[in-house]
């Protein structure tokens, strides 16, 4: 159809506008695809690493903090004849001869004969004696051995919670697929007993995996288990573990969608400006008999062409970007949640399809308003631009009044108690929409306020620049709203990160009061109590507090347990949100009460005097909550209990770390050096000063927000591209008007000043508008999104730099966008411009 030809030629005739729109939508789609691929790769890696040992296991037998007694496996297998099960010992080691790389050690039973687990399957071609005939025999994946430069046989030194050990690589195994290869990349396979020794868990198993298809068999096994163990289904355990990273994933997805929303504004902006510029042509088409439906389809088709091209480019960009983001996301998951080897992006068709659908969908939605605008252009024999601007100005009040609707919906979604995270994000997007409707009225207000100042400063040019903005309101209002939204996103996220960072910094200062912290690399056997005794006897040591970090896995998920052997004074380091140290301490010390962190209380809906159920050595038991404390170390939450309480319920003497309080007159650095060279010499323990530990914590914090910052920058890039394109086309459209000015004596310099002042003013207006919206976004992220995601309380820290940066960014984008049209128009002879209109 000839209308399609008109549309396509229009896109080709404005190559910069079209290309920049394609780049904008491509970047938006790329960010969405990259985040989805990254999240999906992490999920797949998690599933695979889970399945690597568990395979098709339907259930797991899990124990307490020290795992299971291996006798249980023997009893079940030999005495009760349960065959479809296999024991698992898992732990972490480092390879001192290979850059201290972190590896997992997995102990397998060569006689278990299951083929459902990748680890077991990988060893199927080996005879059982391959692992058993040589002492400390170990298997590596073929690629891993090649990467480490190890041949068969060779020696591999490892360092784990059980100390340093020399393993003998007796064979290599091959994985069935690339994904399995990734899962085996940092794995050392040994027999059960070797793994137990390396991980310091002699006589213990991490868990027993079972394949139980018959409900009666499930009931039978459950009936055979001692009280300190639990039979959990694989699905519930896997889900519970994966739930840990859900909020993190949702937040990343929401940020990526924000980039797409900015991309949508870009398409909206391009199409609106394009339709407005062609009003006269559209009116002619209507007069000649083109129907409004045909025009609607034609404009949507134009947008779709840009969208499809953008999406196609976005797929490639997204895949490339996902490779860059993967390392950042993997780091965060390893820092905050669990150890996971993710080195490879899994290109999932579903992720790509989601990106394509969102990209195309966003384009269509963004094009709806301009397409409707085009279809409503009345047929006219004579056309005037002023009518368009009159309509734009008269709609300002109506739009501002209509803004009440999305703002009310936003308020309801954000403020109603018990709202979900999804409702929170939906509320944010409604608020942004409401703001976009208010933007034209606010733009007029800003121009009115700056007009006298501009007139005084720049004379005629200043007066004309101000008027130029309001006289082109039909175009400028959309552009300013889009730029303001993009800048507000960066201001809001910036304030949120600064607030969070400062809150954590302050919390660490109060929480880490000891002078030195010593921790064990693994958590099984941990720190030798004799060593602690020796340290406590050193001159200058005022007191020592020990801690045990452990986790209790169960069908309901994982509970992080923090066991503290502290005196009342050290207990005061906890900052309580509910309850207080004085009232909680007696019950905490002697009364089987626990204190829980704020995220734990939020996720489990627990408060002071409520009870939490934990699986002890003697079965499930209730513990009273004596207080809720602020903690930013874990977003899933922590249950803290006194060591005396812990000892009463769990036979686990291990200590993970200890804190050393020194006398006031002791030089901490010198004492640390003496300690490192003395008592701690040859130990596997890590010594850190209070300052170092705080610095490390902040480093992890900054790493966690690295992805957020990348997305934030990309969002701004998308916005700047959009603004650049829109402002440029607005100015270029006015070629005739500027030619008339030149013909009447305006110098090229004056013209240059006029165009850049106008685009700079638009940038400034957008920057100023972005500030309240940015602040609102920050408050919503801090008090609503963060609360619903993680349950943390954050203090708001407002620093001027975010606001200054926001306005500077917007003004810079405006000035930059004005440069090219200003130069081009100033250089064009007026006669040429007049002739070609």
């Amino acid at each position: 159809m000839i209308l399609a030809r008109i549309s396509m030629r229009n896109l080709i005739r404005h190559p910069w506008q079209s290309v920049l729109s394609i780049v904008g939508i491509a970047l938006g789609v790329a960010v969405v695809i990259a985040i989805d691929l990254t999240n999906d790769s992490a999920r797949r890696a998690f599933k695979l690493s889970n399945q690597m040992v568990a395979g098709q296991a339907t259930h797991h037998i899990i124990g307490g903090p020290t795992g299971l007694n291996e006798i249980l496996y023997r009893d079940l297998r030999v005495d009760h004849g349960i065959r479809d099960m296999w024991p698992v010992v898992e732990g972490r080691v480092r390879l001192p001869d290979h850059g201290d790389q972190r590896f997992s050690v997995i102990g397998v039973d060569p006689f278990a004969q299951t083929t459902h687990s990748a680890i077991y399957r990988s060893t199927r071609d080996l005879s059982p004696t391959e692992l058993l005939s040589v002492r400390n025999a170990a298997l590596l994946a073929q690629d891993t051995a090649r990467r480490l430069g190890l041949s068969v046989p060779s020696e591999l030194r490892v360092r784990g919670a059980g100390g340093r050990h020399r393993l003998r690589v007796t064979a290599t195994v091959q994985s069935d697929s690339a994904l399995e290869g990734q899962a085996l990349r940092t794995v050392v396979i040994t027999d059960i007993s070797t793994a137990q020794v390396i991980t310091g868990n002699v006589g213990r198993l991490t868990r027993i995996d079972l394949e139980l298809t018959d409900p009666t068999a499930v009931a039978r096994v459950r009936g055979l288990l001692p009280p300190d163990t639990e039979l959990a289904s694989s699905a519930s355990r896997g889900n519970a573990l994966q739930q840990m990273t859900r909020a993190f994933e949702v937040n990343l997805t929401a940020l990526s969608l924000l980039a797409l929303v900015v991309g949508m504004f870009l398409i909206y902006n391009t199409m609106t400006v394009s339709v407005l510029q062609r009003h006269a042509q559209i009116a002619t088409l209507r007069t000649l008999g083109v129907g409004n439906r045909e025009l609607f389809t034609s404009v949507t088709g134009e947008a779709l062409t840009l969208g499809v091209l953008g999406v196609l480019a976005g797929i490639g960009l997204g895949i490339a970007l996902s490779h860059q983001l993967l390392a950042l996301v993997a780091q965060t998951i390893n820092d905050l949640y669990f150890r996971l080897e993710i080195t490879q992006v899994s290109i999932s068709a579903l992720s790509l399809a989601k990106g394509i659908a969102l990209g195309i969908g966003a384009t269509v939605v963004a094009a709806l308003a301009p397409a409707l605008e085009a279809s409503r252009v009345p047929p006219q024999i004579t056309y005037t631009r002023s009518g368009q601007e009159t309509a734009a100005r008269s709609s300002v009040g109506r739009l501002a009044r209509f803004a009440i609707v999305p703002c009310t919906v936003a308020a309801a979604l954000l403020l109603l108690p018990g709202g979900s995270l999804f409702a929170g994000f939906a509320g944010l997007f409604f608020a942004i929409f409401g703001f976009a409707l208010l933007a034209p009225a606010l733009l007029l207000l800003i121009v009115r306020l700056t007009h006298p100042w501009l007139s005084r400063a720049l004379g005629l040019v200043g007066r004309m620049a101000g008027r130029g903005v309001t006289e082109s309101l039909s175009r400028t209002r959309v552009t300013v709203a889009a730029l303001a939204i993009a800048v507000s996103a960066t201001v809001g996220v910036g304030i949120m990160i600064t607030s969070f960072r400062t809150t954590v910094e302050h919390w660490l200062v109060n929480y880490l009061r000891a002078d030195l912290y010593v921790s064990a690399a693994g958590s099984a056997t941990g720190v030798d109590p004799n060593l602690i005794r020796r340290v406590s006897q050193l001159p200058g040591v005022k007191s020592i507090t020990t801690a045990r970090w452990t986790k209790l896995d169960g069908a309901g998920g994982r509970t992080q347990l923090f066991v503290l052997d502290a005196q009342a004074k050290a207990f005061e380091n906890f900052q309580f949100k509910h309850g207080n140290a004085a009232s909680a301490w007696p019950r905490f010390k002697a009364g089987d009460a626990v204190i829980v962190s704020e995220p734990y209380a939020y996720h489990h809906r627990r408060g002071v005097r409520d009870r939490v159920v934990l699986r002890t050595d003697s079965g499930a038991r209730e513990f009273e909550v004596a207080g809720v404390f602020y903690d930013y170390g874990s977003d899933r939450g922590v249950v803290a209990m006194h060591r005396d309480t812990y000892r009463r319920h769990w036979a686990d003497p291990a200590i993970s770390s200890f804190a050393v309080y020194l006398d006031a007159d002791i030089d901490v650095d010198r004492f640390a050096a003496t300690l490192q060279d003395g008592v701690l010499k040859d130990s596997e323990l890590t010594l850190r000063s209070n300052r170092q530990l705080r610095a490390l914590s902040m480093e992890i914090f900054d790493r966690t927000f690295a992805v957020t910052n990348v997305l934030r920058v990309l969002t701004v890039v998308i916005a700047v591209i959009g603004i650049f394109s829109a402002l440029m086309s607005i100015q270029l459209e006015r070629g005739r008007e500027f030619a008339v000015l030149r013909a009447n004596g305006f110098t090229p310099r004056q013209l240059w000043a006029l165009v850049t002042t106008e685009t700079g003013l638009l940038g400034f207006a957008a920057g100023v508008l972005a500030l309240p919206l940015g602040l609102f976004l920050a408050l919503a992220l801090i008090f609503i999104i963060n609360r619903r995601s993680f349950g943390w309380t954050m203090q708001v820290w407002l620093t001027p730099e975010h606001f200054v940066l926001g306005v500077t960014l917007a003004v810079a984008a405006g000035l930059l966008a004005g440069l090219y049209p200003a130069l081009r128009l100033a250089r064009t002879p007026p006669s040429f411009a007049l002739r070609h209109e």
Binding site: M1, I2, R5, I6, R9, N10, R13, A280, Q281, T284, L285, R286, T287, L288, G289, V290, G291, N292, P378, P379, Q380, I381, T382, H836
Partner: protein, 229 residues
Amino acid sequence: MADGDPVIELCEVHKIYPDAQRERTVLRGINATFRGGEFVAILGRSGSGKSTLLNLLGGIDLPSGGDIRFNGLSISNLDERRRTLFRREHVGFVFQFFNLIPTLTVFENLLFTLDLNGVDRARAQCRVEQLLSQLGLSDRGDSFPDRLSGGEQQRIAVARAVAHRPSLVLADEPTGNLDRDTEQEVLTLLRAMPKRDHTTVIAATHSPEVASCADRIVHLQDGTLNDAN
């Protein structure tokens, strides 16, 4: 439709525009008949309502009162979509500023109304080639409008208006933007081309030259239409 038969009839047509202060009556009960094949010039001062009358005749706008009938069909009662289809099929337009589609070549501009009316491709191309040949612009078919002079553009616009053989051509100041020599060329075309298909031409103009070419001249004054004779 034969020459002389009524094509369009206006019966007590009023047009009132609501204004901020008061209503502004532009047309006051116009009664008129335009016949097949005639060339009518509507003369009147700026703001007298000439363009408004053309808008009503072309179904672009609706009268505030009265009725407009096209070959017996009341176009005042048609909805927006039907009026669009009516324009597409039965009306051709010539604008003061040519209003060719800048992103289409001359050939495609002429093809446009034929394409809209679903004329098959081969016949449409044949018709366009014929029109270009009549205009003496066969070698400009691949040019875009901005490469043509004002006179050439308006000649193409006239050809576009008659390409699909409408019953009615409405021209709003068709020579308002042209010099005297070019005006004559365009007027010759505007008179000759519709005649072949018995098309009625109604031109709103200030120009005495346009008026002198017309079969009939009517004056629009104070909202009423009066025959010059």
